[in-house]
């Protein structure tokens, strides 16, 4: 029987169409992800370090101002890398999905007139929902912290005295408009080396909190009505406050210079 003599009962295309043999390889190569992901991880690490170095460099050089463009670029690059990484994570989870595995491993004939009928008999597999979902939970804590820090830096270099706008409060309302004190509650003088309590987020000048808190000592937080007990180990340098102070003083000096220029 020659091909032309044979006619299948239905000539329409089947709902299930197999992958062309030549494409199978390409399809599989899509899942060779490890290299790409390693590269992304490295780039993410690089941009994080680069950004840290930039911030430290500006802080160390009193004559420099923070460049908003540089910081924004860092933020965008970082966000893109995270996005790419999310896509890869998504591909991975698709690859591991049992339905997808079944697709990929099916030994099939080519779709020809002779085989068309059999293809019509294959029930159409549903693509799992996983393909439609956006993959978002790949952001590890360190990435999350860095991203937040960078966004906060961009905020405080413009508004050093303003409270950060918290993205999502429990009741869904964003709080804003408050002012942040740039002064140590113990000396009432501007911070130089602000240290933050990890327990209650209260900030103190290093020298004044150390005068209050001896090594191995645990004491109540100096702020009235605060219930936390602090030890030296609960205190970390608050870099964001350092940047606030720095930007505030730069702005103050600029204002003074402007006034002098007018006079």
């Amino acid at each position: 029987m020659s091909e032309s003599e044979y006619l299948p009962s239905k000539l329409s295309l089947p709902t299930y169409v197999p992958l062309q043999r030549t494409l199978v390889k390409e399809y599989e190569s899509l899942f060779q992800l490890r290299t790409t992901q390693n590269l992304l991880q490295q780039q993410k690490k690089q941009i994080t370090e680069h950004c840290d170095n930039y911030i430290n460099f500006v802080l160390d050089n009193d004559k420099l101002d923070f460049d908003e463009n540089i910081l924004t670029n860092c933020l965008n690059t970082f966000e893109n890398l995270v996005e790419s990484n999310n896509e890869i994570e998504k591909l991975k989870s698709i690859q591991d999905h049992p339905d997808i595995k079944k697709f990929a491993s099916r030994e099939e004939n080519d779709c020809k007139l002779e085989t068309l009928d059999s293809f019509h008999n294959i029930t159409n597999d549903q693509f799992p929902d996983i393909i439609k979902q956006k993959h978002t939970d790949a952001l590890v804590q360190a990435d999350f912290d860095f991203h937040k820090f960078l966004k906060n830096v961009l905020f405080v270099i413009k508004k050093p005295e303003d409270q950060l706008i918290e993205e999502e409060e429990d009741d869904g309302l964003a709080i804003s408009g408050g002012k942040v004190s740039l002064k140590d509650p113990l000396t009432l003088d501007y911070y130089r080396e602000p240290y933050k309590s990890l327990k209650c987020n209260h900030i103190f000048e290093k020298s004044s909190i150390l005068a209050n808190l001896r090594p191995n000592q645990i004491k109540q937080c100096p702020i009235e009505a605060c219930d936390s007990s602090l030890s030296i180990n609960d205190l970390v340098l608050d870099k964001l406050m350092v940047i606030r102070i720095r930007s505030f003083k730069r702005m103050e000096r600029k204002d003074d210079a402007d006034i002098e220029a007018v006079v």
């Binding site: 002064k183 113990l186 000396t187 009432l188 005068a211 009235e224």
Partner: protein, 158 residues
């Protein structure tokens, strides 16, 4: 410079920039005319609408070397008439007690406002002198009269 000194200078600076209406507070001058930041005198006006309102009551604040880890010692004049003031003039107030509610972040402004609040809302559970406490708990008419008489001794216009 010590933490105590830095803090007191800043307290003075802040007070000069702004302070609550009707109050005054200043460090005393030593014999040679220089400022002694560790001892201050201040005036607490009675709250309007209370039987204390006619007067402005002088206090003396002594800041220890360990300030602000430790609270200042705050005194009215001797024999000041108030249930929570000892015959020596020392004020019995939880925020001024190191073992109670004192915290290093409490400012001068908070202290003087706290004392103003105490004037008309004494705490009957911690008597510090017999005279005012007895009248306050048993003979309110005498108590009110004595408070008003005392107010006339510390008139607002100086």
């Amino acid at each position: 410079m010590s933490l105590c000194n830095i803090r007191l200078q800043q307290e003075r600076k802040q007070w000069r920039q702004s302070h609550p209406y009707g109050f005054y507070a200043k460090p005393i001058k030593d014999k040679d005319g220089s400022l002694n930041l560790t001892v201050w005198t201040a005036g607490i006006p009675g709250k309007p609408g209370t039987k204390w309102e006619e007067g402005i009551y002088p206090i003396r604040l002594e800041f220890p070397l360990e300030y602000p880890s430790k609270p200042p010692k705050v005194q009215f004049p001797k024999n000041f008439y108030h249930p929570n003031v000892y015959p020596s003039g020392t004020i019995c107030l939880s925020i001024l007690n190191e073992d109670q509610d004192w915290r290093p972040a409490i400012t001068l402004k908070q202290i003087v406002l706290g004392i103003q609040e105490l004037l008309d809302t004494p705490n009957p559970d911690s008597p510090a002198q017999e005279d005012a406490w007895k009248s306050f708990t048993k003979d309110r008419a005498t108590y009110d009269l004595k408070v008003r008489q005392q107010a006339k001794r510390y008139p607002k216009q100086q």
